[in-house]
Subunit: 175 residues, 2 copies
DNA sequence: GTGAGTTGGTTGTAGGGACAACCATATCCG
DNA sequence: CGGATATGGTTGTCCCTACAACCAACTCAC
């Protein structure tokens, strides 16, 4: 910090007054924009969580089932699945443990790599997913997509796609 | 499920085949749109977390400090703060415990309601916040706001504002 | 091939957050 | 006023997730 500025406010005290010029950063519109994004995301998630958890599965579990269902042969390598679901590898190990215990997923050794495992969606797993999906989509519609005009929805989707390409490079497939 | 449709696929077996019509829901564009929102939100958060946690504070703690800093007299009732930060009241109690132990926040009894407490930002707390804020805003710019054209940023912000009003009614102030 | 280094996945452990139960105070109403 | 109910916060407990340490298997260089 520059302490040679002959200005009004105290030079560099540890107790910034209410007119500390650094406080201007608190109102930076970019900060607000990011906060808005987070609020909407968590707010929407909160609206969706009830229905999913009423079916006895957590949001993370739901995402894992969904991603598996959309993958080739409804299976994915553990590490890929962890990346896609934003989980640590240990976190995914435990999550798949739980799903496997309930028969919604099963593990499959990778033939070409002795270390690797696939998580494979079982018929029961797909069934469970398809059971909750219609209600889930309806809630998304009610709390998100239907609240925007078609044009706005297109705009926000395009913008989000752009940002995703930056913050999550190489995550083109899946949602 | 309607089992009277004289269509091609098997009526209602527990093992849905790969051409189960219900699988169409997996590709519903609304589901994709919501997934995109979540991916961007978590992806951006991941990019921001490093800098904040390098300063020894968690994202939740950062949000609490930020919201306090923007509030009247840099203080907020515990319950209001919990709501704004999307935390349970017990979660906030523990979080404020930690911040208080580090001197970034202090509790203040509410004079008009013997049950209530305020969480008040201390000078050290404001200082800690202002220390990390510039770098934080810069990261937001790099990973979010600067990746969009001004027009796109305006569009997405307007759209998000609309959605927020729906999914988080009465959260007009703060971010 | 054999050893060094890397990668995929699981296990030990710790921390944060949620839910439920609880206490204290406030409010409402007879 | 006094009991019934509601509200604000804290505490007990559990679950989920991350980080670190670990093991097994693959790759590469020599």
């Amino acid at each position: 910090m520059a302490d040679h500025a002959p200005t009004v406010s105290p030079p560099s005290g540890p107790a910034p007054g209410p007119s500390d010029p650094r406080r201007a950063a608190l109102d930076d519109p970019r900060l607000t924009a990011a906060g808005l994004l987070f609020e909407v995301s968590t707010g929407l998630a909160a609206q969706l969580t009830g229905q999913i958890s009423a079916a006895g599965i957590s949001m993370s579990e739901f995402e894992v089932l969904l991603r598996l269902s959309r993958s080739e042969a409804t299976r994915l390598r553990m590490s890929d699945l962890a990346t896609q679901a934003n989980l640590s590898s240990s976190g995914l190990t435990r999550l798949v443990d739980r799903l496997e215990a309930r028969g919604l997923v099963r593990r499959q050794a990778c033939p070409s790599d002795g270390r690797g495992s696939f998580a494979v969606l079982t018929d029961d797993g797909l069934e469970a997913l398809l059971d909750v999906l219609p209600g889930h989509v309806e809630l998304i519609d009610r709390w998100y997509t239907s609240t925007l005009s078609p044009t706005q929805l297109d705009q926000i989707t395009a913008a989000l796609r752009t940002v995703r390409a930056v913050v999550r490079p190489g995550a083109e497939a899946g949602a």
